[in-house]
């Protein structure tokens, strides 16, 4: 009987245990990857903690950094119940407001001096991933993961004149950052479509939308009215931004989920396997391809999510290891690799006085210097 009871206990206890154990299998919660943004007053807007944005002042490019304000601020009545979970798109900064699109709480207009709320829209749609941009005339374009596209007045957060108050519903979710040209708002969907809409009423401008076989997670403008369109179908497409016509395409080894660095007529980008590519923008062909393990006695490059930068002919990329890699932008030859003490890097790099500002998850800041191929951590001073 004892063994029978033991086996019964085993059966009945281990079975339900499987559920919480499976729950422990690491599933990534939203953390965000908002790009650092320099503002007109010389400070930086950084997402130092998930779901938060901070105004940070750097005494010099190598620090120390001092936090001026953080939003949401639990000490404020208006903020204490907010749970934005994460911030993916870079904020938009003007002299009168800072606009922050959050994953779970919608869009906020903040006072640039204090970080307090001016207005808030929580009714835009399901989640905002990276689909947030400012149009040339100052309106705010926001896309949501359930396919709603809005064009909003920056002063009030209301729909722009001519646009439906509830936005325009596209057939699939919008994750990619919209491209705002002088004449059109170009959006990409998770269904693999790229379409251009006019600002007046959101009417389609191209004869027909561009259609890829896989979802489009990112979108970026390139010089000469071209568009960078990476798709999960294993291609990066080059489109004419005026017509939506395909100019070229290159095949990639894994998903490309970043905006490229543009320099010298080339677009530089990496994939989630760690390979790097240089695309000739004019010809629409591959200039070079550096595999994740180029056999140069340095450890392989890991997943590349963070947009690289090019400065003085040096391509600087940060991988998920995390490590910062310095490469020759002309050839793709690796010059150095510097591991950094952080969890990972997903936020796009920012060029700062000829160096690269690297924002790691959990708010660690680093400065990668192409002159001596080194990386230093920027310390944080006391909050003001």
């Amino acid at each position: 009987m004892r063994s029978s009871a033991a086996s019964r206990v085993l059966l009945f206890l281990i079975l339900p245990l499987a559920v919480p154990l499976a729950g422990c299998v690491r599933t990534a919660s939203p953390e965000g990857w908002a790009a650092p943004l320099p503002t007109d007053d010389g400070s930086l807007l950084l997402s130092l903690d998930k779901g938060h944005i901070s105004s940070v002042e750097l005494s010099s490019p190598s620090g120390p950094a001092a936090v001026q304000w953080t939003f949401p601020n639990d000490a404020l009545e208006s903020d204490k119940d907010l749970d934005p979970k994460a911030i993916y798109p870079a904020p938009v900064s003007t002299s009168s407001a800072v606009f922050v699109a959050t994953f779970a709480e919608g869009l906020f207009a903040l006072d640039p001096a204090t970080g307090t709320q001016i207005w808030h829209r929580s009714d835009l749609g399901e989640n905002i991933v990276s689909a947030f941009a400012r149009t040339p005339d100052g309106a705010l374009a926001v896309g949501t993961s359930d396919g709603w596209l809005h064009l909003l007045e920056p002063e009030t957060g209301d729909a722009a004149a001519g646009w439906p108050a509830h936005g325009i519903r596209l057939p699939d979710g919008i994750w990619a950052t919209p491209v705002a040209t002088p004449d059109s708002l170009i959006v990409a969907t998770m269904g693999g479509e790229v379409l251009a809409l006019d600002y007046a009423a959101g009417q389609p401008l191209w004869e027909s939308p561009f259609k890829a076989d896989g979802a489009i997670l990112d979108l970026a403008p390139l010089p000469d009215d071209r568009l960078f369109v990476p798709s999960l179908d294993g291609h990066v497409y080059l489109l004419d931004a005026r017509t939506g016509q395909r100019i070229g395409a290159i095949e990639t080894d894994h998903w490309v989920w970043m905006q490229p660095a543009v320099s010298g007529g080339k677009a530089f980008f990496g994939d989630l396997r760690g390979d790097l590519y240089a695309l000739d923008i004019t010809a629409g062909t591959l200039a070079w391809h550096a595999p994740s393990n180029p056999g140069d006695n340095l450890p392989s490059m890991e997943r590349l999510k963070s947009r690289p930068i090019v400065t003085d002919g040096t391509l600087i990329v940060a991988d998920s290891a995390p490590a910062v890699h310095f490469l020759d932008a002309d050839t793709g030859r690796r010059l150095n690799r510097v591991p950094i003490d952080a969890k990972t890097v997903r936020a796009p790099l920012l060029e700062l006085d000829g160096a690269a500002l690297v924002l790691a998850t959990h708010g660690k800041l680093f400065l990668a210097n192409p002159d001596d191929l080194s990386v230093i951590q920027i310390p944080f001073g006391a909050a003001q």
Partner: protein, 283 residues
Amino acid sequence: MIGDIFTWVLLDPMINTLVVLNNVFFSSVGLSIIVFTILIRIITFPLTLRQLHQTRAMQAIGPNVQEINKKYSDPRRRQQEIMKAYREAGVNPLGCAGPFALQFPILIALFAAVRITLPQSPEALERLSGHLYSWSYIQHAIPLGTHFLGMDLRTPNIVFVALVALSTFLQTKTTVTPTTDERARAQQQMMTFLMPIMLAFFALNLPSGVSLYWIVSGIVSIGSNVAIYGVPSLRIQPLFPAPQPTTAADESTPAPRSTSSNRPARTTHGPSRSKRKNRRRRS
């Protein structure tokens, strides 16, 4: 290292199979989970059958073991006698643990596969990319639809929570076997109600996709329990009746014993000795 093997052998194939099934079954991730769960349960059915038969056999010799416990005060001797009783009945005390131990990693991988395939955040989608095979048929399907019957499979749903509780209750009910032992009966009674409550609590905190797996798995379990045990109260006979425990002495003649009987199976002089020999010895 173990994590890598688990991922390579179980988790990645399961995630990719889920995506393929999603493509086959009208881009419905809900249907994909249902079909996938049924497939896994069919594949592991021989293990389930063996486990349930072993459990039933253990229960059948329970009265004998009880008798031995009463009779022998020396723990070592008692253990020897119990082991002997198991051996003679053809029961391995670890018999139900073995098949279950084999199924356990499969179960964990299945749960994990459902969770990973339904990413709740952009970071989770990035993680999913590392599990997918590079076949375009799979890559083009990402991201999968997240709704089934109007419900978001990435978040907990009260309807699924209720169905998890109901299917677990029925599953436990059909697993429970008749026993004359008061303690065992009380234990069974407690499990019948405790299990659904526990699982409903877990389901409240897990994505509905995992709950859907649990519901379908529960329905399949109810079906296999009915097929193996039958439903005596409804006079439904088992399709795969458990083999009766046999002893060395009566291997030539099939066991006549009732599985639920309290009667000691053998005389106190040992199971291998016949009644006639015992009578001779007493005289």
